[in-house]
């Protein structure tokens, strides 16, 4: 198959959608498809050879925040040229409802289109879907994919109809076979737990974890918390009690390999996020690596954890409950091993091999419908007027 993929977010900046598009393009190529990705990028950025740059994205104040967008006649010409050169059997547009190359490709493409909806931002959807001229081009989408139940609900509310839920993929093996690092591994009496993400952002839940730890340290004084991710370590340390601060090691931002190593080495991965997550790919990465997962019981996480069967959960924003759950999990080796094994099995559902199969199935179903539609005769305006016997005014 010749597949064109449109990613509206810049490949210069790391982000969930960009990673998803990159991984999808790579596995489709590995399976013998011809794939070209159109994405914004700075001129100086070196791109994989299957990525075509749509030019530099411009920061614009849009819909209540600053978004980096591509628009204008030059961009439009680039999108059209990419479509012409690609002669795609199918174009797969990610986040088609951003005023960027997704919308331009949707407008210009005349081959079958599949769209994936990643975010569940209600406000922007409600606004844009109501534009009549845009509505007509949305009708060209023959198959809709949502990456989570939340994203799906947003799509169905504003479009009517439905969307197929296909989660983000993870290369399970890369995490399962990551290197172990002895200094991050737990020792008897000195277990290790990990926190990943922007620690300064309250909704990532560091305050909840920091408030829970004094109780845990009272029972397990040897506990070590390893924190990886961007943010100001001094500020976070200052907000902790002295005992918690001295049990915490800040690793700063880590690369993909170190992230996998960290998740594979620690005893428990804690995800205390308080909300605003539509999916939770990091949980799947931790499960793949074989860490026991302890997460807040927000809906997205509970779904990823298969209702709580593939990981332990605690009441969201409840530090006491988190402390109890952590003590239980760290104090019981058998239970921890059971949770880790259940998580490892659950992660397989999200492996790219499975996810790519599901996406390919969508492509095939859409192409079959489109092929059948091409054989149907159109009426044209004149034929219709003749048949209905009504003239023009």
């Amino acid at each position: 198959m010749r597949i064109g993929i449109v990613c509206p977010y810049s490949f210069d900046i790391p982000g969930g959608v960009q990673f998803h598009v990159r991984d999808l393009a790579e596995i489709l190529r590995a399976r013998g498809h011809t794939v070209s990705v159109l994405a914004p990028a700075d001129e100086s950025t070196t791109l994989p050879d299957y990525v075509v740059s749509a030019g530099r994205a411009v920061p614009v104040s849009y819909n209540g925040s600053v978004a980096r967008l591509n628009f204008g006649l030059m961009t439009n010409a680039k999108v059209t040229a990419w479509l012409d050169r690609g002669r795609f059997d199918l174009v797969h547009i990610h986040e088609p409802i951003t005023p960027s190359i997704g919308a331009l490709a949707l407008w210009a493409a005349d081959c079958p289109i599949v769209a994936t909806f990643h975010t569940s931002n209600l406000r922007s959807r409600a606004m844009q879907v109501s534009y009549p001229f845009f509505r007509a081009s949305l009708e060209k989408i023959l198959g809709r994919i949502a990456v989570s139940e939340d994203a799906r609900r947003t799509v169905t509310t504003h479009f009517g109809g439905d969307a197929v839920v296909i989660p983000n993929g993870v290369y399970v093996d890369r995490f399962a076979s990551a290197q172990l690092r002895p200094q991050w591994q737990g020792q008897p009496g000195r277990p290790t737990i990990a926190f990943l993400g922007r620690m300064g952002e309250p909704r990532k839940g560091m305050p909840v974890l920091a408030a829970a730890l004094p109780r845990v340290l009272a029972q397990m004084p040897g506990l070590r918390l390893l924190v990886a991710g961007p943010g100001n370590a001094d500020e976070v340390r200052a907000s902790m009690t002295p005992e918690v601060a001295s049990a915490t090691e800040f690793l700063g931002s880590v690369d993909d390999a170190d992230k996998a190593t960290l998740l594979r080495s620690v005893d428990v991965y804690v995800a205390p996020n308080t909300g605003g997550e539509s999916f939770g790919i990091i949980l799947i990465e931790a499960m793949s690596a074989g860490a026991a997962v302890l997460a807040s019981d927000i809906p997205a996480f509970v779904r990823v954890l298969d209702g709580g069967a593939a990981g332990a959960t605690f009441a969201n924003e409840d530090s006491d409950d988190l402390a109890q759950a952590l003590i239980r999990l760290l104090g019981d080796d058998t239970e921890r091993a059971r949770v880790a094994a259940a998580g490892r099995a659950r992660a397989e559902v999200f492996d790219w091999s499975v996810v790519a199969d599901e996406i390919t199935l969508v492509y095939e179903t859409v192409l079959e419908g489109a092929a059948a539609a091409r054989t149907m005769p159109g009426q044209g305006v004149l034929g219709r007027l003749r048949r209905s016997g009504k003239g023009m005014p």
């Binding site: 509505r135 198959g143 109809g161 199935l361 079959e368 539609a373 149907m376 044209g380 305006v381 023009m392």
Partner: protein
């Protein structure tokens, strides 16, 4: 306003209305073709699912009663597909067909219980192949039905517009209906 100006204005309005009519008609044509395409695709997937089910029934990997139940449900589905009106204007399935397909899904759910699946996978080989083929066809039915219903929702949205109703731009084409039947996979085959 002088007479030529009024005339020019009238002509301009008529041209604008004419353009919008032809644009709306083309849009509707595209949508109707899309619905017919997705319905044809769904029809094809249903036939494949019934054929795979029949193969499973005849394979000997299930007990005779389950096999008989599946064979009967699958044959009903195949004959419903044959009876289906293949007129190009057709935009919907009959209610009978929806019932038949629901019953086939239910029969598969009953026959492929957790116990039955465990037995099949213990035996391995051929049985596994045919069960995974049944699963794959079931998944395709789910997708095809969903994409068809999305297309129907889009057409119905456009056909509600006043210009389409006043000028009868939809011609004699039936109002498309969503296709509703139970298409859940057997519990043990869900991802």
């Amino acid at each position: 306003m002088s007479e030529p100006n009024v005339l020019a204005l009238v002509v301009l309005v008529l041209v604008a209305i004419g353009w919008y009519l032809s644009y709306s008609a083309a849009r509707l044509d595209r949508l109707h073709a899309r619905v017919q395409g997705t319905l044809a695709a769904l029809d094809a997937q249903l036939v494949r699912r019934a054929e795979a089910t029949l193969e499973l029934a005849n394979s000997g990997v299930l007990d005779a009663a389950s096999a008989l139940m599946l064979a009967s449900a699958a044959s009903d589905s195949l004959s419903a597909a044959e009876d289906e009106d293949t007129d190009a204007d057709q935009q919907r399935f009959s209610h009978d067909r929806e019932g038949v397909e629901s019953r086939l899904s239910e029969a598969l759910g009953l026959a492929l219980s957790a116990d039955a699946l465990a037995t099949v996978s213990e035996a391995g080989g051929f049985g596994d192949d045919i069960v995974s083929r049944v699963r794959a066809t079931g998944l395709r039915v789910q997708l095809a039905r969903r994409f068809h219903n999305d297309a129907v929702t889009d057409v119905r949205g456009v056909r509600r517009k006043w210009i389409v109703r006043w000028f009868r731009l939809a011609g004699h084409a039936d109002m498309p209906q969503t296709v509703e039947f139970v298409d859940a996979l057997p519990h043990g085959l869900r991802g």
